[in-house]
């Protein structure tokens, strides 16, 4: 067996070999065992995660926690079947037992492995020194204490402030029966501010967050504790004077950045290859067809340095890439993993992701955004006689099969005669994925990506993602308020 990458090994690969006593011989034996009942393909996914969380609440550093977990998931593919087993004990006996369990998905004579592993050249997207347990806790505490001070000082109506910081360092190593070999160390951190405002009988909340796969030096400018605090305060104070959101179909202008969650729900999930291979998605069979206004181009890009949704390699060891989903309104392609690529013949887009070693990988998004257009945001707003301008959102959800999706506005305003007027209370927006983007009539030149707060759930698995969008106008969308 060939030695993976001859020259100096990156620390993330050595980590598993040194800390857990994994050897190439063990990897080989486990893959051999995994294919002992005749599977077509097998892979081993080793994962070690260290997570840290700190919280300040009522001006007191009340909470501090750390968690470590390590384990290995073993997968065997046989035709369309997947067998999976995992273990949190990385001794050779337990690994071999898990391999035997996963192997039973197939039935037939044992298959031979490809001889030798090949490690693909991987990108280096996370500009951060890899610390591990020796964290500088003081520097992290200072971030949340600064946020706490700024939020309290901002407005006398703020009665509660909570700020928290969380960080994880995830090391992975993947070895597969087709010879693929990859390893990576993935940092991820996040700063959150939550406030409660009170005026008379009215109580409201505001929250913000920012983060990414980068070091503490990212928390400056629009990600600084002070800015995040002032944004959380602004959101809560704004809600104190908010009027009922309107109900019904109307023109909707979405602000730049996080409102890109529209793309994630309306089209992103529907373009994941597993749903389309099984024809359970509303987008199945629509490749080459018009699914959006010709001004709309949407990509999924896992290769952006430092971003929350980015990965050097996916959780099957494949390099990530930029994938065009919709080009000038035409549906171009799906997000694929090894299984869907093998079964459909489509190229692998490096979209195989999983929450942890407990989970079977599947096609997922990374950073999903719409490219900038040519309209000015001012002109977009001016063009609306009566409508809603939504600039911040909570979560969203989609029914893949009928295409209906929702996303909930947490900061929105009425537009009257081209002008932004009253702020409105929380309201859910609803639409139909394959139709919604056909109503996009203007696309701003102000593309912005979110601040690094997205978490996407699918089949019970959560993974970090990013979204982005310029200001856009939708000629019609249903706004779920209670007002007129």
């Amino acid at each position: 067996m060939a030695t993976p990458a001859a020259s100096p090994q990156p620390s993330h690969k050595r980590y598993f070999f040194e800390k857990f006593g994994i050897t190439e011989r063990i990897l080989e034996r486990c893959l051999g065992e995994a294919l002992s009942a005749g599977g077509d393909y097998a892979d081993l996914y080793f994962e070690s995660v260290i997570s840290t969380a700190l919280g300040v609440d009522e001006q007191i550093v009340k909470s501090a926690s750390q968690g470590t977990s390590a384990g290995c998931g073993i997968r065997v593919l046989s035709g369309e079947r997947t067998g999976y087993a995992y273990t949190d004990n990385l001794s050779p006996e337990r690994l071999l037992h898990a391999a035997r369990t996963a192997a039973l998905i197939a039935s037939g004579p044992a298959k031979q492995l490809v001889q030798g592993f090949t490690e693909a050249a991987a990108a280096d997207l996370y500009p951060v020194p890899l610390g591990g347990f020796d964290l500088d806790l003081a520097a992290r505490l200072e971030l949340i204490l600064r946020a706490d001070r700024a939020a309290r000082a901002a407005d006398a109506r703020i009665v509660q402030v909570r700020a928290s910081y969380s960080e994880e360092l995830r090391r992975i190593l993947i070895a597969a029966s087709d010879g693929a070999f990859a390893s990576d160390t993935q940092p991820l951190c996040r700063l959150n501010v939550f406030v409660i405002a009170k005026a008379g009988a009215i109580t409201t909340k505001g929250s913000t967050g920012a983060g990414g796969r980068a070091g503490l030096d990212q928390f400056v400018g629009s990600k600084s504790p002070e800015h995040l605090a002032s944004e959380a305060v602004r959101g809560a104070i704004l809600q104190l004077g908010a009027v009922a959101a309107p109900a019904g179909e109307m023109q909707v202008v979405l602000g730049p950045g996080w409102p890109g969650i529209l793309l994630h729900e309306a089209v992103g999930h529907g373009l994941e290859a597993d749903f389309n291979r099984k024809k359970t998605s509303a987008f199945a069979g629509l490749i080459g067809q018009q699914v959006a206004n010709s001004k709309v181009t949407v990509v999924d890009n896992g290769t952006m340095a430092g971003r929350r949704g980015s990965l050097n390699v996916d959780d099957e060891g494949s390099p990530t890439q930029e994938t065009v989903l919709i080009e000038n309104g035409i549906l171009k392609g799906y997000l694929t993993d090894k299984l869907s690529s093998r079964l459909t013949g489509a190229a692998n887009t490096g979209s195989g992701r999983r929450e942890s070693y407990h989970c079977i990988p599947m096609p997922r998004m990374t950073n999903t955004y719409m490219l900038a257009g040519e309209d000015s945001p001012e002109d977009i707003l001016k063009s609306v006689k009566r409508g809603l301008y939504a600039v911040n959102f909570g979560g969203g959800q989609v029914d893949i099969t009928n295409g209906k999706f929702v996303f909930s506005a947490s900061e929105a305003y009425l537009i009257e005669d081209g002008k932004i007027t009253a702020p409105v209370r929380d309201a859910t927006l609803i639409g139909n994925g394959p139709e919604a983007l056909k109503y996009v009539s203007m696309v701003g030149h102000d593309l912005k990506l979110d601040e690094g707060i997205g978490t996407c759930g699918k089949d019970g698995q959560s993974v970090p993602v990013g979204v982005g969008m310029p200001t856009i106008k939708l000629d019609k969308m249903t706004v779920g308020g209670t007002g007129r």
Partner: protein, 465 residues
């Protein structure tokens, strides 16, 4: 495949002595109090799609968590590494972290006098969930899907049928003398068929059965048929105009409203004033027909422990039954030790404990007491309205009570279903919605730990075409 691999020996570690040892180590290292939690579990799941096994998963895992105190400072750690070295890091890590936290007068373990556990057998664990051989497990999933597929020619595709089984064990020990543990089991069968109408529009829905023992599962055929019925009735769905009409929530969605009321009554939201129910204790907050109970001790009619039943809570306090809302009056906030101290009250034994972090607040078997009306009576009493069978989104704000969710269901005209509805929202404010409950069904069934009968609420707004 013919069989599952023989299970490895996982009995090597005794979780009771492990947690006791961790507490001792933490105290020896200088903690003023310590609490250890350990969990182990096995899971099995198989999904059969279009008659073929699609995924099959089988595994087990263990983990350990520690919360320790240095006076009024505290921190917590967790690990999947149960070796002596892993445990040393767990304890050292928690101590180091506690030193960077600050004093909080309200933190700490419960008083020793409060600890306890229900002695009687709560019937939470049945080994039979693992008694079936591999092929018989797969067969349950296959039969559920097949029953759905053969119901109607419009059901042409499927997300599959599945069988799941899981067993788990939780152990809690602390330095004030509490030590306890319990095992639990679960098995479930589900089906998720897809139907297509004449215009090529697809719809998916599903149904499931879950129980603590195999014996109590409904038949896979009945699950498949019910899943098919639910999917077929979505065909031809269309939008309805924006309007205000009575909304009837089916039990499987009404339960989410009960969950939101629990969240709003939770001590953490209350002491922060982050709830529309803050300061409302003892006040009329809902129609006088509404009574909501949170019972951690309940047995199901079959004699088996409920899905939210346990002998003690996440902090070692004995499980109990608490009235949340009685005849529309808010009777109790739902409290763990910390939030009770913040409010100058006593814990309602609602502490919940994950592996990491501080205890949260969790419900047991949370339910709305049933009324007298059948679901048909309720639907029959609506001249024009929406019967909601599924909700989408995150549009529930328990601070303001603002409620706005995507909805799917059936249009009601003169007491009869006329057509399926989709791509609309239903919106209101929880405080008003609770007072506008105008009918409660008699159809309370526990399919999970939170349950509600059919519920009619007036005065909400549908946003649609």
């Amino acid at each position: 495949m013919a069989q599952t691999a023989s299970a490895p020996d996982l009995t090597g570690i005794d979780l009771e002595s492990l947690t006791a040892d961790v507490v001792k180590l933490a105290m020896k290292a200088g903690a003023s109090d310590a609490e250890a939690v350990a969990r182990e579990g096995d899971e099995f799941s198989v999904n059969v799609r279009m008659g073929e096994v699609e995924t099959l998963k089988e595994s087990g895992s263990r983990a350990l968590g520690l919360r320790l105190f240095l006076g009024r400072r505290s921190a917590s750690t967790s690990t999947s590494d149960l070796t002596p070295e892993g445990i040393r890091l767990l304890v050292d890590g928690a101590l180091a972290l506690a030193k960077v936290t600050e004093e909080d007068d309200f933190t700490g373990l419960p008083d020793a006098s409060e600890f306890g556990s229900i002695d009687s057998d709560l019937h939470l664990y049945y080994e039979d969930v693992y008694s079936l051989a591999g092929p018989a497990r797969i067969d349950l999933a296959r039969r559920a899907e097949a029953a759905a597929l053969e119901t109607d020619p419009r059901i042409t595709n499927s997300d599959g049928g599945s069988f799941d089984a899981a067993t788990g064990r939780k152990v809690l020990a602390n330095s004030r003398g509490f030590a306890g543990g319990y095992r639990s089991s679960y098995a479930g069968v589900s089906a998720a068929p897809i139907a297509v109408d004449a215009n090529g529009h697809k719809q998916r829905d599903g149904w499931w059965t879950g129980a603590r023992r195999l014996l109590d599962l409904e038949s896979p055929e009945s699950i498949g048929k019910e899943a098919a019925r639910r999917t077929l009735r979505r065909l031809g769905a269309r939008r309805v105009p924006t309007q205000s009409v009575p909304i009837v929530f089916a039990p499987e969605v009404a339960r989410s409203l009960i969950g939101s009321i629990f969240e709003a009554a939770s001590g953490d939201a209350i002491w922060r004033s982050a709830s529309f129910l803050a300061g409302k204790l003892g006040e009329q907050i809902a129609a006088s027909t509404l009574t909501i109970i949170d019972d951690h001790t309940m047995l199901l009619p079959s004699g088996v422990g409920g899905f939210g039943t346990s002998p003690f809570d996440g902090e070692g306090l004995p499980s109990r039954r608490t009235v949340v809302v009685e005849n529309g009056v808010l009777r109790n906030y739902m409290l763990n030790t910390y939030t009770a101290r913040k409010l100058g009250m006593k814990s309602t034994h609602n502490g919940s404990r994950g592996l990491a972090g501080t205890p949260g607040i969790g419900c047991g078997n949370l339910y709305l007491q049933p009324g007298q009306l059948t679901p048909d009576d309720i639907i029959g009493g609506v001249s024009a309205g929406l019967y909601v069978t599924s909700l989408m989104g995150f549009g529930v704000n328990v601070v303001t009570g603002d409620y706005s969710q995507g909805a799917t269901g059936q249009w009601i005209e003169n007491g009869q279903f006329t057509h399926a509805v989709e791509e609309v929202t239903v919106a209101g404010n929880l405080a008003e919605m609770l007072n506008n409950v105008t009918a409660i069904g008699n159809d309370l069934v526990f399919r999970g730990s939170v349950a509600s009968p059919t519920l009619r609420i007036d005065g909400m707004t549908i946003a649609g075409a």
